[in-house]
Structures are given as structure tokens and as C-alpha cells.
């Protein structure tokens, strides 16, 4: 049985045509490979966390809104030495923790239904990553109706009671 290497036709082809490596073709393949590799990396590096803003209402005054007794308000602040503020502080009424994991567990305990309203009340100077940890914990507890408490005025001070849901 003749093997591939012993093929007379192939030998003749190689001899007569002086087969060369198609370098341009390899260039194209290499470029395509590079492109797809980079694109795949972009896809895996970044994801998204959905947080749809309420459709039926805009920023409201506390005086105008009807207080929803079922809603859970997660207060998010930060603590740390100096201006680092690297440690999150999550609190729901009297309960408090520094761990997003414990917050997720707490939310699971409080969860009555998937549409239970949750309000994330973040302090204006709190690092954004702590707010995302709270939102992530809500997603972990399968709570989808999440609102964000808005500041009373941009750049202004104000107390917590002045804040209204977005």
C-alpha cells in the first residue's frame, strides 16, 4: 500500500511546480486570529448589571410620595482610615454588616416575593463599588425591583430624610 509520502503524483507536483509556502495567506489568517482573540477578551472582561430606572415616576419629593411599608431600604456608607473608605457598611434598619455576602444572605431572609421593592440609599461620598456590591447582593437574592435614592440637590448637603427615590 502506497503511503502519502510515496505518492508519485504528489512527488511529481512538488518537483514540477516548486511548491512554496503561501505567506500572504498565513498573514491574513494570523490577522484574523489576532482580531478574534482580542475581541473575545473584550467580551469576557466586561459585563453588565441591569438596573432599570422606574418608568412610571420621576424624581419625587418625600412629601408627595406614599411610603411603601414593604420596601427594604439598604443604606450604604463607607468606612476606612483617612480618605480610603475601602470598607463598605451595609445596614437595613438595625441590622448592619461590612460584608456583601452577609447582605445577600440577609436579603434572602427578608425576601417575600421577587417584586419586593428594594431601595439602595448610598451616601454621596461613598465609592461606587460599594453601591454595585449592594446591587449585586440584590441580584444574588433574586430581587429585581431595585430603586436608587436620589440626592436632594446636586452638590448640596441635606439630611437623609430629604432623599427621594429615583
Amino acid at each position: 500500500m502506497a503511503t502519502f509520502g510515496q505518492s508519485k503524483v504528489l512527488a511529481q507536483l512538488l518537483e514540477e511546480e516548486q511548491w512554496e509556502l503561501p505567506t500572504s495567506f498565513i498573514d491574513i489568517v494570523f490577522l484574523l486570529l489576532l482580531y478574534y482573540t482580542l475581541t473575545m477578551k473584550f467580551h469576557t472582561l466586561e459585563q453588565r448589571l441591569e438596573a432599570h430606572l422606574p418608568k412610571d415616576k420621576g424624581p419625587q419629593n418625600v412629601a408627595q410620595q406614599v411610603k411603601n411599608l414593604d420596601e427594604v431600604v439598604i443604606n450604604v456608607t463607607a468606612a476606612g482610615p483617612g480618605r480610603l473608605l475601602d470598607t463598605p457598611v451595609f445596614s437595613i434598619r438595625e441590622w448592619e454588616s461590612n460584608s456583601a455576602n452577609q447582605l445577600a444572605q440577609r436579603l434572602k431572609q427578608l425576601r417575600q416575593a421577587a417584586d419586593m421593592p428594594v431601595v439602595i440609599n448610598g451616601k454621596p461620598n461613598c465609592p461606587f463599588k460599594h453601591i454595585m456590591s449592594a446591587l449585586d447582593a440584590c441580584a444574588w437574592a433574586d430581587l429585581r425591583k431595585v430603586e436608587f435614592r436620589a440626592p436632594p440637590a446636586i452638590g448640596g448637603g441635606g439630611s437623609d430624610s430629604d432623599y427621594s427615590p429615583l
Partner: protein, 153 residues
Amino acid sequence: MRMSRKKLELKDVGLQMTSMIDIVFLLNVFFMLVSDMTKMQVEALTLPVAYKATDDKNPPPNRIIINVKPDGAIRVNNVPYDRATLESFLSREAVKYPDAEGLSTMSVKIRADANVQYKYVQEVMMACMKAKVWKVSFGVSPRDASRTTPTGE
């Protein structure tokens, strides 16, 4: 029956270099444009980490990416905005995609740095609300998928 053996005719199978160079040139142009657009929309930021995030595949064509830098600076398509100009820009864009409820079907992705103060992100969210844009998502980095708790503890 004896089959007649015809001698294999060898044709010139040389590569068409002109077409190939055309293709390579087009590919290069395409890659250059795509990479430029990517740079314009996405700033280099340290995104917050989340476990329960979804892959950012098939984004809607009418999505705007808003970058919030560590110092609170807002940039869209490499153009700086403040709160007032962002609001008017979003309002202008939002009216192009109206829905039946008088709101907008346009979506916004907020890519904010992990360490930026929350008040700057609130400004962006307020601008979205005022422009009647309610489809908002946040750009996050995925956490290690092998972990089973939000913090990996």
C-alpha cells in the same frame, strides 16, 4: 476493460497576489476603524466587580455608553460633558427613539470607575431620568465564576 491513463495536466496554480493584497488592505482598514471606535466609546477604567452580572453581548444599537472617570469627569464618545450638557445631549438622543408611553426606548450603559464618588454616578442617573431614559445598566467586571457567593468569602 482497460482504462486509458491520461497524463495529469499540471496547471499554473500561482496565488493571485493582487486580490490577496486587496483583502489584506481592507482587513487592515476595518480593524483600524473598529479599534478606533472602541477607544472612543470605552475609556480605560477600573470597573467595580460583580458576581451576578450578565455578559454584555448583543447590545442594542441605540445604546449610549457614558464613562465616569475617577475624578467624576463624564465622557461620552471621548467628549467631555457636565451635568447640564449631558442632560440636553441625552434628551436630544432620547427623542429619536420614542415609545408608546411617552418615554424613550434608548438604553444607557454607565461605566463608572469603582472608586468614583457615588454622587457623580447619581448625576448621570438623574440626567437619564430627566431625559426619560429608563433602560440603564452598569458596566462591571466579572467575578471569578467558580466562586459561589457574592464576595467569594
